[in-house]
Symmetry: C2
Subunit: 336 residues, 2 copies
């Protein structure tokens, strides 16, 4: 599939998590990025380690031989910005598949629906939960799960889970990857449901159900969400912790962040306190322990990352790594 | 309104929480209970402190001058038992309002919908979340909230919240009551949404939104749900803790329970550990502290309750009370 990513003003910065996730990790070919703030550049000008993809200002400039348009942004609340509607309509009119992780379903929008029906375009609302939802019943308790949790949103949980899963596969280990967010689903998880869209009672059960489907694997990486003390999303975090029956927990963390992103004044707990909380909450359900710290080093120099790794290793006795910058190999060795 | 409660095999025991809540706390007149296991008795034979209400074996035996049928059961998963469908159909055929707290919406069931359209019967699916859902934004942080949380499902959270709210009103305090479950909504909350039915991302925001609506009150009692280490429902528990911005927490607890109800092997944490967890999770969001233990003494003698109260007061320094058995007056005095 030849994929175009819509990510105005977001590809290089805040709100572009899905866009960058698909850009870096999608098994499909990326043939264009639409971002008016970076138009004319190549994606590689921004991310030297990334793929060679031209950036356009508007969908009308993209060569028409693509197959799917991915809406690559996840704003708070998940609503589609009005000015993007026109571009989505152009893709649908041209019969292209539209893939969306927004809270507002494209497939339930009367205008989009009509256009898609006429052109035969397909719509995939990645956040749409499955119809037959389950309440957790304890049946996932014995699964060999590793949860990649975190101390905030956007600290590299999905990336860490994918990198560790790929590293396991490279070593010939039978590994599974369960996604709980739109990007994880789009980059090739074994199973994935956007848990923040699932009604509260069914969050843990939906994760348990996915875990049970790959229970025969030697190891299962589960993507976590949010943080246990995030003022808006903590419930999703805890539902996934319990529904995954995490045996091991890798905690993703950005040492430069003081407050939860977008929630000034809502402090992120000290790392050792976060570890304690995750383990205490896991204790009566799965007994999971934190086994490593995945560093989101976006705002740190190599030297700062090295220093932080040493600190974590000496003070907490845990391996730490920025897997995006330094790869997952050594980190994997130290954990498993 | 003259209300009939449907609660086969459940009115006196497991699964009858909603039925009993409505029976004890509804501001409406209760004219009949349908429970084949207790047919022929009066509700007062089972609950001497309750209202004088006849119990019937089938809806066909209930005098027809009632206005509404409440489906008074909340089984795991929330589905309507097949054998009850016939009775719901009879109520709808006769033009009676049907009020349901089940996960499966009566109003979206094709058969029920057709019957209701023909007879003009109204359907109120109490669990149906509002259409315009909000993500928490921190705006509820200064609300004078008291969360009634718990160490398991069905330990008297709703009852405690209602009793404390009524006690506050009796004292002339401007008090608010926010419900998060179907029974609380049915017994006259200021605002109520069944949070376990709300998609994960919006749980805290929905509670915050309700709290903001009664922010001018002197005190706001918020009904909690589940428990922080419940394998299926913990996410809902935490979403409500954070969305309520609890300043004070009353913890409802059944000292005779070892495991989460219906989840054998899933241990309930020791009370002091539960208190610690609630406070740690609240700390960076609202700084809420546990200020009292509400005892679910269903399986305890008066003497056992007294002993437990003394233990809690001496070991944890907290007031404790079985408000259902001994009233909320003294408990209220000691907390506020």
């Amino acid at each position: 599939m030849r994929v175009v990513i819509l990510a105005h003003d977001a590809f290089a910065g805040f709100g572009g998590k899905t866009a960058r996730g698909v850009y870096f990790y999608s098994p499909h070919e990326i043939v264009g990025i639409i971002d008016r703030s970076n138009a004319g550049k190549n994606a590689r000008d921004i991310f030297p380690k990334g793929r060679d993809v031209p950036i356009y200002a508007h969908i009308s400039q993209v060569p028409e031989d693509y197959d799917a348009l991915v809406i690559g942004v996840a704003p708070i609340g998940g609503k589609l910005p009005k000015e993007w509607r026109e571009e989505v309509k152009i893709a649908l009119k041209n019969g292209k598949m539209v893939i969306s992780g927004l809270h507002d379903f494209i497939s339930e929008d009367e205008e989009f629906k009509k256009i898609a029906e006429k052109s035969g375009a397909k719509i995939w609302d990645v956040r749409k939960p499955p119809k037959d939802l389950k309440v957790a019943d304890g049946s996932g308790r014995d699964a060999p799960t590793v949860l990649v949790a975190g101390t905030d949103c956007s600290v590299g949980k999905m990336i860490t889970a994918v990198e560790m899963h790929k590293e396991a596969l490279r070593r010939g280990i039978s590994s599974g990857f369960i996604a709980t967010g739109q990007t994880g689903i789009l980059v090739g998880a074994d199973y994935g449901v956007v848990i923040d869209r699932v009604p509260g009672d069914f969050m843990a059960g939906t994760v348990e159900d996915m875990v049970n489907k790959v229970k025969d694997r030697d190891i299962i990486f589960v993507e976590g969400q949010g943080d246990l003390t995030h003022p808006a999303y903590s419930g999703v975090t805890l539902g996934i912790l319990h529904g995954s029956y995490a045996k091991k927990i890798i905690l993703a963390h950005d040492p430069t962040r003081k407050w939860h992103e977008g929630y000034e004044g809502y402090t992120i707990l000290p790392l050792e306190k976060s570890i304690e909380l995750y383990e205490e909450l896991a204790s009566p359900v799965s007994g999971g322990k934190v086994v490593g710290i995945s560093i989101d080093g976006e705002n740190m120099s190599d030297e700062e990352i090295m220093k932080f790794k040493e600190k974590v290793e000496s003070e907490l006795g845990l391996p730490a790594e920025d897997v995006l910058r330094f790869g997952a190999k050594k980190f994997f060795d130290r954990i498993f």
